[in-house]
């Protein structure tokens, strides 16, 4: 049988993102897949040379709309590590709450798109209806539906009142009930299983060797999640990753579905345990003679921390005599980052890594972003050969591709 090369994307009815795949097919069976990226490159990393490190918070939020809060969180944690800032505990809990709400809405979005990819449009609408409640929570508590813009270096910009916490809990109860009604359909329905079970199998060894992250990795039996490193308030909340063992599209779908419900529990727990106090610390910066320092990314990171508290003084709460405008929760930042940091957070799609380097000026020397989809493309290319052409959309969507993230 002669081989045919079929272009798939960047504009395709089932693809929400501009990914181009050159599929070599042999009688409807995919033999080889070659990706082409670069359709939405915006050069956001380069902007760090002309925008100061505080302005970069708003810029990295725009790397990805779906997980904007987590990009900002990862960046802010990196800057805080370089400058040796201890974020108030309440701010850590608030970051956790908004981060997990982002995960819920991203997973619901994906579950809807996934249902749409195998032609189950009514299920797509059901998931997106539930997602709308989460978006309302975002708008009411952060001031925007998508790019929430709550993280700043030193803490968060907004606070949650007891009434808002109560309202969020009520909304979560309704949403959880609605999602559980869809559980039987997405996980047990005959047609869904027919399209997902055994499709695009990534074995446990392959997942490790090819460097898969997120639900792709956990769907193949690895209990690895960046939340285990204890960033934000995860160190105090106790967290166990969700694992499935089959490694197929169905397993990845099940991981995401179960993670949605798990995130509800984390939000509730964080609200219940959230301490009172300040939401942003004042940041006082480095001396001019400060030597470059290497600071570990999260707990148990790859680099060791040293010479950390020598040149920085931290004020945990703004003293009352400081000139802070009424109603403003923003942190006062003085000084400039000088040193390197690697931070990792768990995005809905997997592990997100930031490498930050400051040289004591207001502009960062380097902001390097490694997004989860970038890590998940090699495993995708490994699981596509051997599948039928009709299964390609389902398999591609099962990695939850975010090309805007990948190209930045």
């Amino acid at each position: 049988m002669a081989r045919t090369i079929l272009p798939f994307g960047p504009q395709h009815p089932v693809l929400p993102e501009p990914l181009h795949l050159k599929l070599t097919i042999e009688d409807e069976i995919v033999v080889e897949a070659l990706p082409t990226l670069g359709y939405v490159h915006r050069g956001l990393e380069k902007l760090c040379e002309v925008r100061d490190f505080n302005q970069m918070v708003q810029i990295v939020e725009r790397v990805c709309g779906i997980c904007s809060c987590l990009h900002a969180l990862c960046y802010c944690e990196g800057i805080e590590q370089i400058m040796g800032v201890e974020v108030p505990r309440r701010a850590k809990y608030l970051r956790t709450i908004w981060g997990e709400l982002h995960r819920v809405h991203s997973h619901l979005l994906w579950l809807g798109l996934f249902a749409d990819a195998f032609g189950f449009e009514s299920l797509f609408m059901q998931f997106w209806r539930v997602r709308e409640r989460i978006m309302d929570i975002m708008e009411a508590t952060c001031g925007n539906r998508v790019v929430v813009s709550v993280n700043v270096v030193g803490g968060v910009r907004r606070d949650l009142s007891p009434e808002q916490c109560q309202w969020i809990e009520q909304q979560l109860i309704i949403s959880e009930k609605e999602i559980r009604q869809l559980q039987t359909t997405i996980l047990n329905d005959y047609t869904v299983k027919k399209r997902c079970c055994g499709k695009g199998v990534l074995t446990k060894e392959q997942a490790y060797q090819l460097g898969a992250v997120g639900p792709m990795l956990r769907g193949s039996g690895w209990a690895q999640d960046a939340r285990q490193t204890g960033y934000a308030a995860f160190g105090e909340l106790g967290f166990e990753p969700i694992v499935e063992y089959d490694g197929d599209s169905y397993a990845r779908c099940a991981v995401r579905f179960r993670e949605t419900l798990q995130s509800f529990d984390i939000v509730r727990l964080a609200i219940a345990r959230m301490p009172a106090g300040e939401t942003a610390a004042n940041v006082e910066g480095a001396n001019e003679d400060d030597t470059p320092r290497i600071i570990s990314g999260n707990r148990g990171g790859i680099m060791q921390s040293y010479n950390r508290d020598k040149h920085h003084s931290i004020t945990a709460a703004p003293p009352p005599d400081l000139d802070i405008p009424a109603g403003s929760l923003a942190a006062k930042v003085k000084g400039k980052p000088d040193g390197e940091a690697v931070t990792r957070v768990e995005q809905p799609r997997g592990e997100l890594m930031y490498y930050l380097k400051g040289v004591g000026s207001k502009n960062m020397d380097r902001v390097r972003i490694r997004t989860p989809t970038f890590a998940n493309i090699p495993p995708l290319l490994a699981i596509l050969p051997g599948c039928e052409l009709a299964d390609v959309p389902v398999i591609v969507l099962s990695i939850d591709p975010c090309i805007s993230c990948t190209e930045r």
């Binding site: 708003q58 708008e139 009411a140 925007n144 910009r157 329905d189 005959y190 405008p325 923003a330």
Partner: protein, 120 residues
């Protein structure tokens, strides 16, 4: 299959999930970052908003006493509102109106005199 059928029947008799836009318009929540406003009388033309703005859409001339904002470059992050020392910037919860041409918000105020000039 039966579960979904039950859901479909329930939806038939439930209240509509969508609104009859534009007759029924959903309002925004309190604190929504919709449109940027300035009370130019209180502005001291300190240029803090211009310096801190991530999209660099604000231009302040402290000699001429003008404050301008490229409304279409603004990303509505609210940083300028947070950093304004006189709290003259604020955000209302209504969206900016749709426009067919590029808009610039331009305000003319009275520049603050220096202490020496004021004393004279």
């Amino acid at each position: 299959m039966f579960n979904m059928t039950k859901n479909v029947v329930a939806n038939l008799f439930a209240k509509s999930s969508t609104r009859l836009y534009p007759f029924a318009v959903r309002g925004h929540f309190e604190g929504f970052r919709g449109t940027l406003h300035i009370n130019i009388d209180e502005c001291i033309f300190c240029r803090t908003c211009q310096i801190k703005c991530p999209s660099q859409c604000i231009a302040v001339d402290n000699k001429a006493g003008t404050w301008t904002c490229e409304a279409m470059s603004c990303v509505y992050c609210g940083v300028c509102v947070d950093v304004c020392p006189t709290s003259c910037l604020s955000m209302s919860k209504e969206h900016r109106q749709v426009a067919t041409e590029k808009q610039t918000m331009a305000y003319q105020g009275v520049p603050k005199k220096k202490k020496k000039e004021a004393a004279e």
